[in-house]
Assembly symmetry: C2
Homo-oligomer: 340 residues x 2
DNA sequence: TTGAAAGCGCTAACAG
DNA sequence: CTGTTAGCGCTTTCAA
């Protein structure tokens, strides 16, 4: 890529002023004569000048780029947030750099290091592990602006945007119990992941509140992809006394479960009732439609962006934590269990 | 963000050498004494040194970042490619900057300018318009490495990775015709978008080959979102002599069509047969499952990345164009039209 | 084999 | 109001 090479120097020369003056005119700061300013701006236009953001960054120590590290950009939840973040940051002249941790702590660590050395201005991060987080702590301690989304990381002092995972999961399971279920399976991701912990807690708390004993064999663990979820669901339901209901902790898993149950010839909700955490487009056109615990996804990205922007602008307040409520959307995937 | 501030200078000082030597040792080039090199590397480790990539970029004129400009990051097709690109580029020490054009030419132009001034090394681009592309032409002429994906842009000399849109669409419509359909509707996006043109051409060619006259009123235009597609589908099917079949040009539209048809009480395939371009996860668990023209999506990202990497490495060959074949996956959404 | 020095493009003290 | 100058952190001649 041949740098186009119209530099400030060229503009200054064309306008017959010094680089300093040209810079002042272009960035409108300090004193510049009206005439001069005009001349400079015209020269810049004529030459097609664009400031070299790398040079500016070297000087200021900051590249107008924000790093976004979701667990998986293919998950519609994170994709939606990516979109919203990009819109917000673009308004402020920042670009969004996306680097997926793929739920791998080591990769997250490296990515963070790499972005650090790039002098990106801040981070929007969905930490892969709630506890294995020395790297995040360090980053925060060094003063890097960080906003955590979807998940928290222990002891990190920074803003975060979450949803009420425990409450949402509890309510979902409550709903299954209210429909007469006692053998309720849970399909979740690894407990390293914060939301998995909270949603598991909600599941436990609901069962406990209803005096249902926890059966560990009813808990399936899977990666958050459709494929992995299919396998895990099959394992969960390939037993004699299979569960009458299933609660899945995210939309990819819900989709996997759907596929798996169908492949096993189990129909919803006659054979198995299903509730999923996180709504998804196609939930309404399966037959039956899927009952879900929806998250206010449209609010997460913009809020996180705003929080980070505040920090970038130097706002100094105690770390803020916003936890959005979730909302049960009752559709048709839950019914009373059949007597057997 | 307080720059951590371990610079090459610090390392050099700690190792008692000059910055030049330290740089040589760290980047292993030129002559450095074994002893010295070791000392430098140890010092760097001890201090936790990481090269400042911005400074390197200022010097080299290139930031190890690649820009990815899809039409919409929320479209699973582009999200999947984003993921694959990121993986490939990470292997080569490059980060991926994602900027969505939102199918807006003006925004695409600005984004490109902005990334240019950032000195990103190259671009993976799904151009919003096949013809309104002065900005892309200019970029290419200036020698910026560009790889076009999914769509081409007229007269731009650069590598591209496409699928056989015309052939795929034609085959899809052929299939509908073979099943006895004559009134086949098309739901597509704006003709500014390259794939829309090609898929429209395929639709036309198939009809023509079968001696079916083109009925413009059977062609619906919509933005590529589920919501817009719902509206457009309703318009298409709210007529007396409604079509017996529908061909949709991407997965988001297919989903919208599904939702719309159901809301109108039309069942698939009894009332309307449906074929969609681009496969999607849930196509197999609707009832009936949806017949689609699948694209080899797993191949697009890696190939595009490789092509760009070749260019970044200075490879000088004529622009390469790869056009992947598509594949009809017959499921259950097509049947013979009812007699009326 | 190593060091000194220049310079990438920009901004901001500081002087005038 | 404008110019001079230094320097951000790095790489790379060139000379020693």
């Amino acid at each position: 890529m041949t740098r186009k090479g119209v530099t400030l120097k060229d503009v200054a020369a064309a306008a017959n002023v010094s680089r300093a003056t040209a810079a002042r005119a272009l960035n409108s700061y300090g004193y510049v004569g009206d005439q001069t300013a005009l001349r400079v701006i015209e020269a810049a236009d004529a030459l097609g000048y664009r400031a070299n953001r790398v040079a500016q960054a070297l000087r200021s120590g900051q590249l107008p780029i924000v790093g976004y590290l979701p667990g998986d950009i293919q998950n519609p939840f994170f994709a939606r947030i990516a979109h919203d973040l990009e819109v917000e940051f673009r308004k402020q002249g920042h670009n969004l750099l996306i680097a997926s941790s793929e739920e791998n702590v080591e990769q997250e660590r490296e990515l963070l290091e790499s972005l650090r050395s790039l002098s990106v201005r801040g981070f929007i991060l969905a930490p892969t592990s709630a506890t294995d987080n020395q790297h995040i702590l360090k980053l925060a301690r060094e003063g890097a602006p960080i906003v955590l989304i979807d998940r928290v990381s222990e002891n990190v002092r920074c803003d975060s945007v979450l949803v009420d995972n425990e409450g949402g999961a509890r309510e979902a399971v409550d709903y299954l119990v209210a429909n007469g279920h006692r053998r309720i399976a849970l399909l979740r991701d690894e407990s390293r992941i914060f939301t998995a912990q909270e949603r598991l807690a909600g599941y436990r708390n609901s069962l406990q509140a209803h005096g249902i004993e926890l059966d560990e064999t009813l808990i399936g663990v899977s990666r958050s992809t459709v494929e992995h979820a299919i396998e895990a669901t099959i394992r969960l339901f390939s037993r004699r006394d299979r569960p009458t209901a299933l609660f899945t902790v995210d939309s990819l898993m819900t989709q996997g479960a759907l596929l798996a149950l169908r492949s096993m010839g189990l129909s919803i909700p006659q054979d198995v009732s299903l509730v999923g955490f996180d709504d998804f487009d196609l939930a309404t056109f399966t037959d039956p439609q899927i009952t879900v615990m929806a998250q206010p996804i449209a609010e997460i990205g913009p809020l996180a962006a705003q929080m980070l922007l505040d920090r970038l602008a130097g706002k100094k307040v105690a770390p803020r934590l916003t936890r959005f409520p979730t909302r049960l959307i009752v559709r048709g995937s839950v019914s009373h269990p059949k007597k057997r």
